[in-house]
Symmetry: C2
Subunit: 215 residues, 2 copies
């Protein structure tokens, strides 16, 4: 019996889990180098040094492999950033720390994030051609950040603005900071992040400097 046919989830052997991780990492590397179109099961297998059939043995198909990549990378970055935010009391500080921590994660996980981008913008599972993830994929991020902005507005730290638009824009700024850094290897990622933090501090802060308490 092939293990990927199991109902869902529990009790995978250690060896099996190791193989799955190995294949996932190979797929991540291939995605980052050759893009989604260039990532065939044959190439992923070759990079590990195994036969192509092993992937079919451990994963239900190419789609499941891709989804595992998204799940793993997404969970990882979310955990990293959220753990950093716990220490921040003010909304202003949390916003700046969001940008800093994301930049730091990008610096140390370039390959994973490139792969994530490839899958999110290309994987289609339904026959109608709709993207499996797409932008809607960011919705949980938008929601969380929106809540942060509202808190800052109620505390008087932030001026009144559309929290949803601000959330979307922050995410866009972070995504393109990454994309720009990837294509400009000499670019100073840290400085870019600080510049972004300043940018959004100016964009969000209350017009009246004295109104720090709740009005």
């Amino acid at each position: 019996m092939r293990p990927e046919d199991k109902p869902d989830g529990q009790k995978r052997s250690f060896v099996e889990e190791a193989r799955r991780a190995q294949i996932i990492e190979s797929a991540i590397g291939t995605l980052a180098e050759l893009g989604y179109t260039g990532t065939s099961l044959a190439r992923v297998a070759e990079r590990v040094g195994i036969s192509k059939g092993v992937i079919s043995y451990h994963f239900a198909g190419k789609a499941e492999l891709m989804e595992q990549i998204v799940e793993r990378v997404y969970r990882d970055i979310a955990q990293f950033v959220l753990s950093r935010l716990e220490k921040e009391a003010t909304a202003t500080g949390a916003l700046r720390e969001t940008i800093r921590s994301v930049a730091e994660y990008m610096r140390d996980h370039r390959t994973q994030l490139l792969a994530l981008g490839e899958v999110v913008t290309n994987l289609r599972t339904t026959p109608d051609g709709a993207l499996r993830y797409g932008i809607a994929f960011n919705e949980p991020i938008y929601d969380a950040r929106e809540a942060l902005f509202r808190r800052g507005q109620q505390a008087g730290e932030f001026r009144p603005f559309d929290a949803r638009v601000m959330s979307v824009t922050v995410q866009a700024a972070l995504d393109d900071m990454f994309a720009y850094w990837v294509t400009h290897p000499g670019h100073d990622l840290e400085a870019h992040a600080e510049e972004l933090a300043d940018l959004f501090e100016h964009a969000t802060r209350s017009e009246d400097p004295g109104a720090t308490a709740n009005r």
Copy 2:
């Protein structure tokens, strides 16, 4: 002799140009609906109601067809936005008008911009797997907007900030405004654009309100 073998460019017959345009439009529609992977020459031909070979007759290959799409859409939007900017005297006004005009273009050219995005993020012509366009594609936009920001800074309208980061971020905000609108059909694009204009006005304006003249 096949017309696509001509040295480059001039004297294409009217009929031929019409066919090329027809095929390009079909490709744009297909890209917008089914994405890059789903856009085969067969499907593009089917949508026009012609044989697949006609595309090979009028274009050197799939890559040339895709490049023609980019060239056409890119030139169109650039012309639209630049014509709007001519009327603006101040850097602040030009920034706001940039955002407004791009949003208006998006509203009226949804399909074209979807297709442009598909090609830019997927077309690879070199065997090493590098993207044909990628983010570097935005470089002329960055340069022009950077010049605008510097002018505003010298005029005292804008605070000191990194003009390159601000340029990249404005473009990111516009791109994601489009992406968000595409996935949320009920979203108010115009309101989003105004919100963005406010956002960047706060982000860029000089700290000292009195310093409107050159210092």
